[in-house]
Symmetry: C2
Subunit: 143 residues, 2 copies
DNA sequence: CGCAATTACATTGCGCACAATTCTTTATGA
DNA sequence: TCATAAAGAATTGTGCGCAATGTAATTGCG
């Protein structure tokens, strides 16, 4: 006999392992990020700024899939730590420009060892990691 | 010339699409869950209880990868909505037993359509979904 | 030009997550 | 036995996430 509730089983969900996996991995970053006084969200924000040096809040939000409700307080914290500056654009006062400071740039050298340290924690082969990566971005697909 | 910071690029992280994807999908559940007055975390908690009917907090935490700091207030909310009861075990007063109520069981019939509704939102083929599922559980691997 | 609509960010409020600590109850071992 | 350790939840405090709302600046349209 068919189980009309089969679709509701936790083991039949795709979303749940995604949700659980995401949190478990972020947790593994914590000891390394603690050394730099960064949370995971602050870390990926810095990651974007290390690549671009200067961005506004909207652009940051698009990169990170986060809105101003999350970014505004987070960026204020990064500013209070001296790693970024927050300044309105002269051409358009609505826009807030976030700029990496010298200290923020220097943090990059301390962070550079984190990805290698983390790679040991991942229990997938390089090919599996690549497959996972591709599927996740496909799922995320901006359409 | 080599980029010594290549490992720090957001696009080279496996964790980031995992983190972003998880949140994006949970967001897609929201309109459906709103109709049942459930959050996503409450939903997966109910999902476990629909299968087991009765569990203690520790067991729930193991299923969901959550601790009492998250579950205690969440379960109190589910209790206040009348979907579960919370009661200490007689044999061991340390253990709190969470039991599905009749109303909680009835909610299952309303929730049963959610998985099908959600499947439309996923931009992966069934095989891709299965591959993703397998890789995520492998990554989550309880060792 | 004048004003409504839009844009960009900030604020508020709620619900997680999670580390750290506390509290109560149960198990253990000298 | 009884002190000590361990187990299971609850509590506390911090930091997201995000929907909803607010505010100020800019755009677009008649």
């Amino acid at each position: 006999m068919e189980d009309k509730y089969a679709g509701l089983k936790l083991g039949n969900q795709l979303c749940f392992p995604l949700y659980a996996c995401s949190r478990e991995i972020v947790k593994k970053y914590k000891p390394f990020l603690d050394e730099l006084d960064l949370t995971y969200t602050q870390y990926i924000t810095m990651m974007v700024l290390w690549e671009r040096k200067q961005m506004n809040v909207k652009e940051l939000g698009e990169c990170l899939y986060l809105d101003s409700g999350t970014l505004t307080p987070l960026l204020k914290k990064l500013e209070s730590k001296g790693w970024v500056t927050r300044k309105r654009a002269k051409e358009d006062e609505r826009v807030l420009i976030v700029t990496l400071t010298k200290e923020g740039e220097m943090l990059r050298d301390k962070a550079v060892s984190i990805p290698e340290k983390m790679s040991c924690c991942v229990k997938l082969s390089p090919e599996e990691g690549k497959t996972l990566y591709t599927l996740l971005y496909k799922m995320l697909g901006n359409d």
